[in-house]
């Protein structure tokens, strides 16, 4: 396979970043936007081509004779050599999940580029200040995200992991004049940084024991006769486990070191994918422009954690306890986020919590995936859900963006009854809601159903729990839908334009994404993406009993939402009065932010930094200064020696001479 295309896929966004960043201010807004979009469009084409080649060309570097999909290392360039073995390389690994991610990222990114052309201007069509910068940052993000998914080694992943974090920081803080945006961006960066600390230590541990950063050396075996081609193999992971088990220190504090390493790495994933308790940054990140939320905080960056676990999936398989942790964290997060999403007022927040909840679905799905259950259905389901979720969640966000753009507020209380004035937005939003709720035949139904069935195979408790969350999902999504589009007639405040559908640059992406959400469920994902590349028949594992139950649950959720929110009524308020404590806790997101606030401000700042700074200025510096003071004091103290009196001089002289002799005599005796 030609090396040019993969390089271009990475190089074009990077070039666009520098180009727009350095010269953007010199060109017109429109030109900058168009250039950015065109650049992304070309990447889109190239990525589609690459993915198409990978999945369907049938080349022997992509598929072996048994039909198993292989991993192909397109290129691998040494970037930094730590030791003989530990080398960071920058490369491009093509395998099922990276090919899939290429498609996801470029699709969403292109849509967002296109959409922003319309979104990032006011009602008079005047472009926002910093429009070029926005496109530059979008390009930077796309570059980083693409680099992340194609990373053939964990350190490259970490590098791009940090880069997406930084571009996310820049984009959340795009409206840098708004203090809330600034603090949200700061929060996002620091929370994920904290998670990355765990990631880093995990990488260090893993690489120290195994002596490599390369994913292929951790999870795969090379395919004979083909350079750069490997196949996922559980045996490699087992031998890695043996390395840990036979080392001088196989356990640490009761758990095996491999578990530690994997959990620490997962901690990085928790940060990026906003798993509890590191989720607090994501709702705040909605301060960024809505297209950014769609791209970064719904479709791509936040699934990096899932992607990371999927990358190392064979290794995670080795440690059951790590898998259990993933499952538990995922399950708790999913439920928590769904609960919170039920009562939020800000539509972007609702979507944010829904994102958290859906990513948690993917996590759970990975956590329960085992080769022995449906040949690792959970893994496939997780990736499938990643794909479908990216599409419909981006759709929802872009729809929400259209609404916000039209209304000028994030609050649903300012919306209501918009279905007539914004029909395209309404329809596409509804499709998104149906997809996420899991209504057949929309894409979400298929992926969620598979997640649930793999949960069911693993443990009935997990299955019930996740089904409950699925029901909640349907409920809160339709609550949102009704509150925006129904509830009561829309009243345009004085002096505002009546809401209407947005220009084509904004509606076109909505339509495309809605279309994808409608049909994506029928993609034979099992043929394309499985944990070890071995394709299997998707329908063979399709469990109609599970499917019908989940469908039922979803419909119940929707029904409840319809009852409560379709028309203006007293029911929601009654519910709220009935369960005041629950409502308050949900509304305040279970006080996680307050807890963090307490920890960072009171403990880190108040109990560590401030005392340390005080200690530094007064004790350490005080000690240094006190040397000077002491010297001065001593100088003052011996002042009387130089009294100006000859007789005293002579007296001291004599005493000195006698002491000199006397003491020496005493010592000698």
């Amino acid at each position: 396979m030609a090396i040019t295309i993969p390089i271009l896929i990475l190089a074009i966004p990077l070039f666009m970043f520098f180009f727009l960043g350095l010269f953007g201010m010199k060109m017109s807004h429109k030109l900058a936007g168009t250039l950015g979009t065109l650049g992304m469009g070309s990447v889109l084409v190239l990525s589609y081509f690459t993915a198409f080649q990978y999945f369907f060309s049938g080349l022997d570097i992509f598929v072996n004779e048994a039909g198993d999909r292989l991993q192909y290392l397109v290129f691998d360039q040494t970037w930094l050599q730590f030791t003989e073995k530990l080398v960071i390389k920058l490369g491009f690994l093509l395998d099922p999940i990276s090919a899939m991610m290429l498609v996801v990222i470029t699709t969403i990114s292109f849509m967002v580029h296109l959409y922003s052309m319309g979104y990032m201007r006011d009602h008079h069509g005047v472009f926002e200040h910093g429009f070029q910068r926005f496109y530059a940052f979008l390009s930077l993000f796309s570059f980083s995200m693409l680099g992340l998914v194609v990373a053939p080694n964990i350190f490259q992943m970490y590098i791009f992991w940090e880069l997406v974090g930084a571009s996310s920081y820049l984009l959340i803080g795009f409206y840098y004049k708004k203090p809330s945006a600034v603090s949200a961006s700061k929060k996002a960066f620091i929370v994920t940084r904290f998670a990355d600390l765990g990631f880093l230590i995990g990488i260090l541990t893993l690489s120290w024991y195994t002596g490599t950063f390369n994913f292929t050396e951790l999870t795969s075996v090379p395919v004979e006769g083909l350079a750069g081609v490997t196949q996922v193999n559980i045996g490699t992971a087992e031998s890695i486990r043996n390395i840990f088990a036979t080392s001088a220190a196989p356990t640490f504090m009761g758990a095996s070191v491999l578990t530690w390493a994997l959990v620490l790495i997962f901690m990085g994933g928790m940060g990026k994918s906003a798993m509890m308790p590191l989720h607090i940054w994501l709702p705040d990140a909605m301060e960024g422009p809505t297209p950014v939320s769609a791209l970064i905080h719904a479709a791509t960056m936040v699934v990096a954690g899932v992607y990371l676990v999927a990358r190392l999936f064979p290794l995670y398989l080795m440690e059951d306890s790590a898998m259990i942790i993933i499952t538990v964290v995922g399950a708790l997060t999913a439920f928590y986020a769904a609960m919170v999403a039920c009562v939020q007022v800000d539509i972007k927040r609702v979507l944010a919590f829904s994102t958290i909840s859906q990513i948690a679905f993917m996590m759970v799905s990975l956590g329960v995936a085992r080769p022995e259950y449906h040949e690792g259905l959970g893994y496939m389901a997780s990736m499938f859900h990643l794909f479908t979720h990216a599409m419909f969640k981006a759709l929802l966000f872009l729809g929400a963006g259209a609404l916000i753009h039209a209304i000028g507020s994030n609050d649903y209380t300012a919306m209501h009854g918009l279905r007539k004035s914004m029909p395209i937005t309404h329809i596409t939003f509804l499709i998104g809601c149906l997809a996420i709720a899991g209504i057949i035949p929309f894409s979400g139904f298929f992926s969620k159903d598979e997640i649930l069935s793999s949960c069911g195979q693993y443990d009935i408790l997990v299955y019930l729990w996740m089904s409950l969350v699925a029901g909640l999902t349907a409920f809160y999504m339709f609550r949102l839908y009704y509150l925006i589009f129904w509830w009561k007639e829309h009243v345009t405040p004085e002096g505002h334009h009546a809401p209407h559908d947005q220009p084509w640059t904004m509606t076109l992406p909505l339509v495309i994404l809605a279309a994808i959400s409608c049909v994506a469920g029928f993609i034979p994902f099992g043929n394309l993406v499985t944990w070890n590349g071995e394709p299997y028949d998707f329908m063979a594992h399709f469990d109609w009993s599970v499917a019908s139950i989940s469908l039922l649950v979803a419909i119940c959720g929707i029904a409840l939402a319809t009852v409560m929110y379709r028309k203006e009524n007293e029911l929601p308020a009654k519910m709220r009065r009935a369960l005041p404590a629950l409502w308050t806790w949900c509304y305040h997101r279970f006080y996680w932010d307050e807890l963090y606030q307490f920890i960072t401000h009171k403990i880190i700042f108040g109990l560590i930094s401030k005392p340390l700074a005080w200690f530094d200025r007064h004790i350490i510096d005080g000690t240094m200064d006190s040397f000077a003071t002491l010297t001065n004091k001593a100088s003052e103290a011996i002042k009387p020696l130089q009294s100006g009196q000859i007789q005293m001089y002579v007296f001291y002289y004599l005493i000195g001479a006698l002491l000199l002799g006397g003491i020496t005599i005493l010592c000698l005796i």
């Binding site: 603090s183 700061k186 000690t623």
Partner: protein, 508 residues
């Protein structure tokens, strides 16, 4: 004598000194400074290329371009020069910062005196890095220290008297210990009856310092250099000193001078006394480990930009010494990279702070805000510097820190598994935590200073960077990015130094 390229690193600054001395107006002084610093950059580039050529050709000597000219024959004091990858890296760093510093002090008052002292300082720095003779090394070291007093005292701001005195006395206090250590090394540089020497290479080759003496001399030299490397608890000169120093001086001091500390710790303390380095490293590991997090925590609550940056320097330079003490090639490579990286980015920081201060006349972040709207160029540069500082990939901080962490983790695990205690491992993890704390204080500053609404309406009238300021900052940013994007080049350059022989002595 003049056939050796290295000697020109001292001659050019001396010529510049003469040139500035003879200059009659500020234009001539600027011309001398710019031409000289460009010449220095060119020279270091030429040196780099020649060095790489020689290495490619298979030269395996620990140092190249070695030469020695007798100075005080009876004491065997020579003006001995020689460079390896580390010294070359430091020379390049110094010449870049001198260049950037010259531009940053374009409009300094009393330029003649200022540049004279600045160039004397640079002479010391360059001399230090090319020396392989302990005596000349020490001499250049002190030459580089003393101009600080006047530079801060005369051209500084704030409590400059206090700060200048404190800085000078503390650094000289360090060098008092250092001098004793160096003389001690000299007297044990040969077995009984042998010819004593000051030459580092010879001492290292002989490895004849008795172990008992090493245990005494190692702390002396390490503390001596460590004071300049801002090692806890001897770092307190740094916040005050930097806060009061003029821009170019802060740049040079934090960018280059503090590197003398780390370089010296490696070149003298560790390289010459490997036994004690192993036995006693735990004391200094604890101290430097504390430096790393302590500086970062302190930076979190400071409100003066220069104080913040000074404490951040404590943290970053602590990491340098920390890595050196890990005694393995990866960590040490990381340490040198960190020196480069910190040198460049902290110089960039100080340059920017100076430029902002020159406009707003305050460094309190509580008194400023929304600079991004007023001074976009400087603000963007500040963000880039901040990103480099908190270790964004693609900029220099990341590669340096990662190399250090990988190396020290390696050392820590090796210790842990061989039952030698988990001190290294624990402190490695503690040091890793600094990446989070760094993010906290950097983003805090960026958020308060650059973003948000404009705090002071008077600031709206400020103008953005002038061309010389742009030259200064862009140079530094390019270098920061170059290290960040092509780390392996520097890695290889530095690695040529860490020949197996060194670590054969160190035993790890």
């Amino acid at each position: 004598m003049f056939s050796n390229i290295l000697i020109y690193f001292v001659i050019i600054p001396l010529l510049m000194l003469g040139g500035v001395g003879l200059s009659r107006n500020i234009r001539q002084i600027r011309a001398v400074a710019v031409i000289g610093s460009v010449a220095l950059m060119a020279l270091s580039t030429v040196l780099l290329l020649q060095y790489l050529d020689l290495r490619h050709a298979g030269e395996t000597a620990p140092m190249l371009f070695t030469d020695s000219w007798t100075w005080f024959a009876p004491l065997n004091i020579n003006l001995a020069v020689g460079v390896d990858g580390i010294s070359i890296a430091m020379l390049i760093l110094s010449s870049i910062i001198v260049f950037a510093g010259s531009f940053a002090s374009w409009k300094v008052p009393q330029p003649k005196g200022f540049f004279l002292w600045l160039l004397l300082l640079s002479t010391g720095v360059f001399g230090f890095f090319i020396s392989v003779d302990l005596f000349t090394m020490f001499m250049f070291y002190e030459v580089a220290l003393i101009p600080m007093y006047l530079l801060i005292g005369v051209w500084g701001s704030g409590r400059k008297n206090y700060a200048a005195m404190k800085l000078t006395l503390m650094l000289m206090g360090g060098s008092a210990f250092l001098m004793l250590g160096l003389i001690g090394i000299y007297y044990h540089s040969a077995p009984e009856g042998g010819q004593l020497t000051w030459n580092i290479l010879e001492i290292a080759a002989r490895d004849s310092i008795p172990h008992g003496w090493q245990s005494f001399l190692f702390p002396m030299t390490f503390v001596g250099f460590g004071v300049l490397g801002a090692m806890f608890p001897f770092h307190t000169w740094s916040p005050d000193g930097h806060a009061c120093a003029p821009t170019a001086v802060s740049m040079l001091h934090a960018g280059v001078l503090m590197k003398l500390g780390g370089y010296g710790c490696f070149r003298v303390a560790i390289y010459l006394m490997p036994y004690a380095a192993q036995e006693l490293s735990y004391i200094f590991l604890i101290l430097t480990g504390i430096s790393v997090v302590y500086g970062a925590f302190c930076a979190c609550v400071k409100t003066d930009l220069k104080y913040i940056n000074a404490y951040s320097s404590v943290s970053h330079c602590g990491l340098v010494l920390f890595a050196i003490l890990m005694l393995n090639s990866t960590a040490m490579t990381g340490a040198i990279m960190q020196m480069l990286s910190h040198g460049l980015m902290t110089a960039l920081f100080f340059a920017l702070i100076g430029m902002i201060y020159g406009r707003t006349h305050t460094r309190e972040i509580t008194q400023m805000g929304g600079m991004m709207q007023i001074l976009p160029f400087l603000s963007v540069c500040y963000v880039i510097a901040g990103m480099a500082s908190l270790g964004l990939p693609g900029l220099s901080g990341f590669v340096a820190e990662m190399t250090i962490f990988v190396g020290s983790f390696k050392a820590g695990m090796a210790d842990y598994l061989s039952g030698e205690g988990s001190l290294r491992l624990v402190f490695t993890i503690i040091a890793c935590c600094s990446i989070v704390i760094t993010a906290v204080y950097i983003l805090r500053v960026v958020g308060k200073l650059l973003f948000g609404p404009v705090y002071d309406k008077h600031h709206l009238e400020l103008t953005d960077a002038t061309w010389w300021e742009r030259t200064s900052t862009i140079t530094l940013i390019l270098c920061v990015a170059a290290i960040g994007c092509f780390p392996n080049f520097f890695n290889n350059l530095i690695n040529t130094t860490f020949t197996p022989e060194i670590f054969a002595v160190l035993g790890k």
